[in-house]
């Protein structure tokens, strides 16, 4: 099969028991679940751990990643004055610039510093009340300056909330990603982002978010794609 015809499906938003106290899923549990899902025809290539309000530069999931054949990358979900923000490609400079534990970081700075330090920021669960971007644009009259991409399809949001995110993205011409917001094993990969190239490292991810073409998908949509293009993980 021509490799260029494949999409690469990454779940860009997940939490684990390693660092999020409201999570019930372990990182290994996620990897095992993805292997089990693949056996049933679903396509999930990997996931990004975006633990709440922190980034541990020393945690390393490469061994698990190799053992299960699943890309496991790391980012963070931080909290800003326009709701929660997912940050990928976190550098020591980014960590020095902010106290990630704070719950009302200045979003313009977060988006700007992420870009300037080689990373990328995305407004999380854009359609959710109080913690998503749409609420701050529509109700708090904040501006969208500096925000290029929203997590429009979020596995922890209702259909209505995801539609609010979609309307926002269409109104401002924003790029869209998907993530499960998994806190439990069976939720990982429920919503993902389809990329045109393989993503093995966080650098690959940032490059694709900056320059690639991508769109949000549900895990069921990958089943249809798999039926059309053949099994990839057999």
């Amino acid at each position: 099969m021509n490799d260029s015809s494949k999409r690469w499906y990454m779940d860009l938003h997940s939490h684990s028991t390693d660092a999020s106290d409201d999570a019930g899923g372990t990182v290994e549990g996620y990897a095992k679940w993805i292997v089990a899902r693949r056996k049933r025809g679903y396509q999930i290539d990997g996931f990004v751990l975006t633990e709440h309000r922190q980034y541990d530069p020393d945690s390393d999931y490469r061994a698990l990643s190799e053992q299960y054949g699943v890309s496991i990358l790391r980012g963070a979900e931080v909290e800003t004055d326009i709701g929660h923000v997912l940050v990928y490609g976190i550098t020591p400079e980014f960590v020095r610039a902010f106290d990630l534990r704070q719950v009302s970081l200045p979003h313009k700075e977060v988006f700007r510093v992420a870009l300037e330090t080689g990373g990328y920021a995305v407004a999380a669960h854009a359609g959710r009340p109080r913690i998503g971007l749409a609420h701050y644009i529509d109700d708090e009259h904040m501006t969208i300056d500096g925000i290029q991409t929203v997590e429009q399809l979020n596995g922890g949001s209702s259909v209505d909330e995801n539609n609010v995110g979609l309307a926002l993205a269409e109104r401002f011409g924003l790029k869209r990603v998907g993530g499960s917001d998994a806190h439990y094993v069976s939720a990982i990969g429920r919503c993902m982002t389809a990329f045109g190239r393989p993503i093995h490292t966080v650098e690959d991810l940032v490059q694709e978010l900056l320059h690639g073409e991508y769109y949000p998908v549900t895990v069921e949509q990958t089943l249809e794609a798999g039926a059309a293009s053949g099994e990839r993980h057999a």
């Binding site: 409201d22 019930g24 899923g25 549990g29 095992k32 679940w33 089990a36 899902r37 056996k39 049933r40 209702s158 259909v159 209505d160 806190h183 439990y184 094993v185 069976s186 939720a187």
Partner: protein, 150 residues
């Protein structure tokens, strides 16, 4: 009753695998909530958020809500019903992420996420959740159950 009768509904470790799903439905009525509060001696005098829509609206809910303990009991019974007489529930941890309200149809879902054989101690891990018609999950949790081998 013979052992084989009693074990007719038994679930075996050999027969389950990661990804298996089982479901049930639940639509807790106001009467059931009152019965639960009564059995647990938690009835309060006068209307409250668990029994009265108006009281629930005062705290931002759309209708009277289901007590968290009652949801935990329903989730636990869902698992212990599934595991059969020789199964053993080790633990269940749940989060109440959104309120469940009276008469709301909920799908109750169990999903096997892992099977572990630790020197003959055979356990399965399950995700358990309630999902409403809007795709919201009022309860989400993890249960660990010991299941016998055949």
């Amino acid at each position: 009753m013979t052992a084989s009768d009693a074990l007719g509904g038994q679930r075996y470790f050999d027969d389950v695998e990661s990804g298996d799903e089982f479901t049930d439905s639940w639509s807790p009525t106001g009467e059931q909530v009152v019965a639960f509060l009564t059995v647990s001696n938690r009835t309060a005098p006068g209307p409250n958020r668990f029994t009265d829509d108006e009281e629930a609206r005062k705290i931002g809910m759309t209708k009277a809500i289901v007590p968290g303990q009652m949801s935990l009991c329903r989730a636990t019974d869902f698992v212990t019903d599934w595991m059969g007489p020789s199964g053993r529930l080790r633990s269940i941890d749940v989060n109440f992420r959104r309120p469940a309200v009276h008469d709301e149809p909920l799908k109750v879902v169990g999903l096997i996420t892992d099977t572990l054989d630790d020197d003959g101690a055979t356990t399965v891990k399950l995700d358990v959740y309630f999902e409403n018609e809007r795709g919201e999950r009022p309860l989400q949790g993890v249960a660990v159950v010991e299941l016998p081998r055949r």
